[in-house]
């Protein structure tokens, strides 16, 4: 189950990469807001079809859980607006590294404290070592992006 889930997230990361490469091209033709709108609207249509047809009955619904639990979408939309505003000003390489740092740091904090109703997974020696390795990875991604910038935009890692 654990390995299956890891495989699933790695594959979905690859999917995300393909998606941002495609959306990047679409966005440069029709505008960022338009391409984001298409993503969210198609996503809503598909997930509605799936949930309506296949999802088994649950004790709670989207309308009966506490409201704060369904605010996830706001973070996604705010993220998109910040990125669109920041990339022309601080550059893609810096923005990419800043986003990934924030993402990784917060994810480890959520695990450690079990925030938002998640299972507590404490920071330990292995997790600190992993953080050091991730910092190395970020430096390498930054250098790779600043080098690529002189040729032309690479896919996905420049969001």
């Amino acid at each position: 189950m654990l390995l299956l889930m890891i495989l699933l997230v790695v594959l979905s990361g690859a999917t995300l990469c393909a998606q941002s490469a495609i959306n990047g091209r679409l966005g440069s033709h029709v505008g960022v807001l338009e391409s984001a709108w298409l993503t969210f609207t198609l996503g809503a249509m598909l997930s509605f079809l799936y949930a309506f047809l296949f999802e088994p009955h649950h004790a709670f619904t989207l309308f009966s859980v506490p409201r704060w639990q369904i605010t996830g979408a706001f973070f996604g939309v705010v993220y998109m607006l910040v990125i669109v505003f920041a990339i022309p000003r601080i550059g893609t390489a810096a923005a990419t590294v800043a986003v990934i740092s924030g993402q990784l740091l917060m994810s480890l904090l959520i695990d450690h404290f079990g925030w938002l109703g998640n299972t507590v997974i404490r920071l330990n020696g292995a997790r600190y070592a992993a953080m050091a390795l991730l910092a190395v990875a970020l430096v390498l991604i930054y250098r790779s992006n600043t080098r690529l910038r002189r040729e032309n935009a690479g896919p996905c890692m420049d969001m």
């Binding site: 799936y50 709670f60 996830g72 706001f74 996604g76 920041a86 601080i90 992993a130 991730l134 996905c156």
Partner: protein, 142 residues
């Protein structure tokens, strides 16, 4: 860099992505993963529709594009569904590192073969190094 003040804002935006994942996992357990994914996309779609109505939408232009350029919207739900399925089982940290690994690996492959209309490019040593470091981190966290 004269816009250095933007960096903390961008870091915070990245943190928001993990908060989104942290909200999605427990929500999916409670209401069903499909409905949790719908919650994200329906709210996002409504907000952006507002933005478009009061902006200057170029939707006609969008539907003049080749259809494969519109498939990003089909790939999006796969990512969100993976978030809601995986975070309750493996935690938010491992989920995010796994996604990063998939992204860097895919960027190398797309570059190498010049897929999706990107320029064909030799494999980049820095990214291979980053990929190995992330793989080790993934193994350590797991």
């Amino acid at each position: 860099m004269k816009h250095i003040w933007l960096l903390p804002l961008v870091v915070a935006a990245g943190m928001g992505l993990s908060v989104e994942a942290g909200l999605l996992g427990p929500l999916g357990e409670e209401v069903g993963h499909g409905w949790a994914v719908l919650g994200i996309f329906a709210l996002g779609s409504l907000l952006l529709t507002f933005g478009l109505i009061f902006g200057r939408p170029r939707l006609a232009l969008m539907f003049a594009q080749p259809r494969w350029l519109l498939t990003g919207g089909i790939l999006g739900p796969i990512y969100v569904a993976a978030l809601t399925l995986a975070t309750p089982v493996v935690g938010v940290g491992l989920t995010m590192v796994g996604i990063l690994f998939g992204q860097v690996a895919a960027s190398l492959v797309i570059d190498h073969f010049g897929w999706l209309g990107s320029a064909k490019r030799a494999v980049d040593g820095h990214r291979v190094g980053a990929l190995i470091a992330i793989l080790l981190a993934l193994w350590l966290i797991h």
